[in-house]
């Protein structure tokens, strides 16, 4: 007798079955789309309802089914409410949210190839002080054509600067600012910025030098170039290039009949 009643009951609830996705996979995709942040919650609800539908075969489970369904609805509603509160922040500023970092690429220290290879077949290079630690710096040099013994082929066209406006004659493994303060190659941007204030300011505000990643730092990080990614320090004018992707004349006309 109780057995009979419970099947009857399950029958009454059978209309629910086609409304519900039958596999977890299906439910998962739907949950993902309907509210991707609340996805787990929806999935758990689905599991509960599935279990309960099975349990409906047992007479007493009916009460639990209803209770569980109500609990689920409550939880989803609560989740929605919480989200809408989050969304109520007037402008999507960084206030009160953790920001992801902005990485500014740092140049590596330049090295000079010796022309030899090591045991592994890799080219051998030395740092600048290998030679310059023992030689007198030429403080006057400002023209690459005056280089007679070494660094042949260096192209220099950067205002009327002397080499040691930037290179540190006290330590050629570093650079220096106008006041003599030493700057590592990694911080070349500091060097450029002291003479190019407007571009440095624009760069700080994202209006020079470009970026990749996120405009919204609450959602993800950002990569920035360094000045020397785009400007050769010795010849900083941005190079001329061949344009890519020549347009085909199709925007305003139908294609020719085939």
């Amino acid at each position: 007798m109780p057995q009979e009643r419970s099947t009857e009951f399950a029958h009454e609830f059978a209309f629910l079955a086609p409304l519900l996705p039958s596999t977890e996979q299906e439910m998962s995709t739907i949950a993902q789309r309907v509210c991707s942040p609340g996805k787990e919650l929806l999935l758990i609800c689905w599991h509960i309802i599935q279990a309960v539908l099975k349990a409906l075969q047992q007479y007493f489970a009916a009460a639990i089914a209803i209770a569980a369904a109500l609990a689920c609805l409550g939880a989803v509603a609560f989740d929605k409410l919480r989200k809408s509160e989050e969304n109520a922040i007037p402008a999507n500023t960084s206030i009160g949210m953790t920001n992801h970092p902005t990485h500014v690429r740092q140049p590596e220290s330049p090295r000079v190839l010796t022309g030899e290879t090591n045991f592994a077949g890799k080219p051998v290079s030395v740092n600048c002080s290998t030679c310059h630690a023992t030689t007198e710096p030429n403080l006057e040099l400002r023209n690459a054509a005056d280089l007679k013994e070494f660094h042949q082929g260096l192209h220099f066209n950067h205002g009327n600067l002397s080499c040691v406006s930037c290179h540190n004659p006290g330590n050629y493994d570093t650079l220096r600012l106008a006041d003599g303060k030493q700057v590592e190659f990694a911080n070349t941007m500091q060097l450029c910025s002291q003479c190019h204030g407007p571009q440095a300011r624009d760069f700080r505000h994202g209006a020079h030098g470009g970026m990749t990643g996120h405009w919204d730092l609450t959602k993800g990080s950002r990569e920035r170039n360094t000045c020397t990614d785009c400007h050769d320090p010795h010849s900083p004018a941005y190079p001329t290039v061949m344009p890519v992707f020549k347009p085909k004349d199709r925007n305003f006309h139908p294609p020719k009949a085939h």
């Binding site: 999507n92 505000h205 020079h208 001329t240």
Partner: protein, 312 residues
């Protein structure tokens, strides 16, 4: 910023809606018969399934219906292009109004932005279609109608400057008001979108746009399956059907997730600035406050969201 009211297209009646037209005829013919009947009228209707034809306007779809539509579109892409793609529905974020600025002193006219747009937005390969046209302009002239797009020599040329033009996401968009079926509208974050499944391809919007920013899909886009960008959105870069209009959406499938648009990331010169106009700390706000920005064809009153500036 303007607060565009988002009327449901069929609430505001009197207009010709594809659905009301369908209801009227469908009542006597039956949907299948109707679909068959109109098939010869348009070449591209052959690709149109009954489901697709019966689909409601995007803004009338319930969340569940929308999921079904997205699923169907994914299956169709798989069937027609052999590619596994995810088509999502990216909603505008509250508190966000997008703005874009471009530094004409920096742009060198290399067209990398146009190329990136082509790839990101699943444009037809054969036509080199892109939402961006880069105009080579004579220094001193500000008339975009005088720019040329087919230049093919090293850039930048001394006496020229370069002006990329894409959808200006106008706050007063003429393309939206001319649409007879309300298949295009402005979203709450400022992006003007098209429901490609609602568009009837009349091309009024193309004619109305003073910036030549809208494109018509004359043919079914052809893209090798391995080149298809699988991260797609209903209102943006999913592969468009033949016979409908399309336009730049500020890469909403990226930007509504906090990412930068593809054209900005591709720019090797750093000429582009994008962000949230409502955030006083944003890069775009800094540009608007510290550079002398201007908009194209201001006299038309279209109120673009796309700003241009020179460093000096």
């Amino acid at each position: 910023m303007t607060d565009q009211t988002l009327n449901s297209p069929t609430e505001k009646n009197g207009g010709i809606s594809r659905r009301t037209a369908l209801k009227g005829i469908g009542a006597t013919l039956g949907a299948t018969a109707f679909a068959t009947a109109i098939a010869p009228l348009t070449e591209w209707a052959r690709d149109l399934s009954v489901d697709e034809f019966l689909q409601k306007h995007y803004r009338e779809l319930s969340p569940v219906d929308l999921q079904l539509v997205l699923g169907r579109l994914e299956k169709e892409t798989k069937a027609q292009y052999g590619a596994d793609v995810t088509i999502s529905d990216h909603k505008p974020q509250p508190g966000v109004q997008f703005g874009y600025a471009l530094n004409l002193s920096i742009c060198i006219g290399c067209r990398k932005c146009a190329e990136a747009c082509h790839n990101e937005n699943n444009h037809d390969r054969a036509t080199n279609n892109s939402y961006i046209r880069v105009l080579e302009m004579s220094k001193g002239s500000m008339d975009m109608e005088k720019g040329t797009v087919n230049y093919d020599h090293p850039v930048p040329q001394k006496d020229k400057y370069y002006m990329p033009v894409q959808c200006q996401q106008c706050d007063n968009p003429p393309c939206v008001s001319v649409c007879p079926v309300e298949a295009t509208w402005k979203e709450s974050d400022g992006i003007v979108v098209v429901d490609y499944n609602w568009c009837i391809g009349c091309r009024y919007c193309e004619a109305a746009c003073p910036y030549h920013a809208r494109r018509f899909n004359w043919t079914k886009p052809q893209i090798p399956k391995e080149e298809i960008n699988p991260n797609q959105s209903y209102l943006s870069n999913r592969i468009r059907p033949q016979g409908v209009m399309e336009k730049c959406t500020f890469c909403l499938h990226r930007t509504r997730n906090g990412k930068l648009p593809a054209c900005l990331e591709a720019c090797p010169t750093g000429a582009r600035v994008f962000g949230n106009l409502l955030d006083p700390e944003s890069e775009i706000r800094w540009v608007l406050q510290n550079k002398r920005v201007f908009v194209l064809k201001e006299e038309l009153g279209t109120k673009p969201r796309f700003y241009y500036f020179f460093d000096k």
